[in-house]
Amino acid sequence: ACGTAQKDNNKNGSNGNEKKVLHVGTEATFPPFEFVDKGELTGFDVELLNALGEEAGYKIDMKNTGWDSMLAGLDSKDLDIGMSGITIKKDRLKSYDFSDPYYESEGFLILFKDNVEIKNAEDLKNLKVGVQNGTTGAEAAESVVGQNSKNISKYESSGLMFQALLSGSVDAAVTDKPVAEEYIKQNPDSNIKSVEDKERFKPEYYGIAFQKGSPYKEDFDKALSTLIENGKYTEIYKKWFDEEPKLDSLKDAKTYIDSLREEK
């Protein structure tokens, strides 16, 4: 990886542009955070990362590598950054360094068809629940139903999760609000009802993954706070989610994440 980075450096150097290229992997099956639009990689994460790179003085080369390849690429140092709506979790902090949280996923939606009745998260107990493997929605659902409970089904993509809901394989699905809203927008005639439970579902935070001891973490943390200060973050946020970001709780989350780091 270092070799490539250098090669790219030289290329850029000859242009008189000293920007270092950072290779980024993502699993683009998580709209609106990252997905492929007719061959082009796009989404909230993609735009934010490009802005962060600009601010921190790096050139961003982001590829849809898939989840497994993203992780392996980070391990083998072929990739410098992984960004794929990754939830910061204690278990994961043992494997990677994470940036400060860049997104608060506080709004989970419970989706269900009209043949079941769900008023709040407690109703999920004893129901079959579908989630997308590795997402905050999965964490949230497991906090009610139990980790790796036999009533939880983890699907590889949100598409499969929604399909499972539609075909009745699961009674309910739990996912991040923007993902659910995107789905309802795309499939307006699907007769899916939704419910929020802010009491029960603790917020979760997304972070950018780096190798342990990565030199880039600090630059990106700094760039993130700059973008939050200068309003650029809000601009991108509003474009993708159609609402104001809650900047304060994002700042508070920093201390929460730091406490997780201490715990390990």
């Binding site: 989840w67 278990d91 994961r92 493997n133 394989s169």
Partner: protein, 219 residues
Amino acid sequence: MGNIRFDIIIDYLPLFIKGTLLTLGFTIAGISLGLILGLGIGLGKMSNKSFIRIPFVWYINFFRGTPFLVQILLMHFAIVPLFMSPANPIVSAIIALALNSAAYISEIFRAGIQSIDRGQTEAARSLGMTHTQAMRHVILPQAIKRMIPPLGNEFITLLKETSLAAIIAAPELMYWGRVAGSQYMRVWEPYIFVSLIYLVLTLSLTYLMDKIERRLKTE
């Protein structure tokens, strides 16, 4: 690959064991049902009436011609919900595995039957046996012996195919590998451990089939 984190494997060991049992269950159910269906389909494809033969030919074409991934999705999200609600991924996976392996097994049956010397049928028929009697008492018992080696291969293929049931969240071995991988964000430990289990399973199966083959030969 960095340091190996054995704690991931230890954490998930009970689930990997559960997953392995389901994987084995899938394989055994798939091959058992596949054998029964495959015999029927193989006989159907050998029919000399084309209106009987053609549906079987297309059945085989479809199941051999499309990725199993798609077959299992179709089964779980379109076919099984027609008669079971909610669709159980384990049921869907078993049906998909059985239908898929039946297509391959039917070809093995057909090849096995056709490899038996025509003289055997002629001898049976000239003793007054009906077609069915000749099949049952003379052709099939011999054909089955010849089918052991290709069936062994199909068995192994099927064992590996069960890993695709993870896509419909059937909690078999590969499913737990993926779940473990995403919890810790680690690729290597779960995948390599899981693939070692597959290797042990397939090698045991190979060994078993060899033994059966040898026993049948000396019989």
